[in-house]
Symmetry: C2
Subunit: 156 residues, 2 copies
Amino acid sequence: MGADLIGPFRNATISVLSTMAATVPVPGEPRQSGDAVHFGAVTGLIGLTSPTAHGNLLLTFDEQSILNVVSRMFGEQILAINQEVIDAVGEITNMVCGGAKRELAEQGLKFDMATPLVVTGNHLELLHISKSRIVSIPFSTPEGKFEVATTLEVQD
Amino acid sequence: MGADLIGPFRNATISVLSTMAATVPVPGEPRQSGDAVHFGAVTGLIGLTSPTAHGNLLLTFDEQSILNVVSRMFGEQILAINQEVIDAVGEITNMVCGGAKRELAEQGLKFDMATPLVVTGNHLELLHISKSRIVSIPFSTPEGKFEVATTLEVQD
């Protein structure tokens, strides 16, 4: 299959954060994360299904990075991870997934999205048990780092 | 909508653990967990989509509870959470979801499943941002506790 499974998530991440938080995150090189993604302080995740592909999208933020993003979104200084931040991460996850979904549909890959979940807590690991690997893109912003990871698996 | 969204997950959990680990877990009363589920040592989660409903399934195990379950599955004493345990939790999550999916299909609710993810780490919270609530079923076994939670949201 020739679909670009990473670019649409990278593009959607840049677009959503530029629009919502007036910050343009700089993507690093995508990498195979092997079996584990270490969670930052707040992680949004959402499942994806289609007749020919299944997987998940994760956005995991360092504390300072997400506090700065939401402070920009809300136009006021947010100092701690609270319910508003949780909701914002869920919404950002949903929007990034929706943007990637539209771009993937143009490549002929049509997805349904489950509902986003948000997990808080540092020093967790996500360990993925699917046969496919985790591919992640590190992003940097002036204020901190975050990571976008996908586990999409396409049946040929 | 008249679908029973909880019973199929309860039934599938009992069936899968009885078959795989020769232990019959005893379900407690389902409860509305509000916004958060506290994760145990290992948590399996999977997204669900359908034209009319979206959500997630989570199975979260205390350490002792999952070590005993996998020890029974493998027929040898497993003393620590390792990759085999991670894989087993992913597989259990997948099978419970598949069982519930079949029963829900009989009610006319057809789901697609994303791929399972497994998260390790105690003292995490899952904070759910969907409009629907988390409904969870506590289970007890002779060896420990675990919890099955769903966030299914049906569009009427």
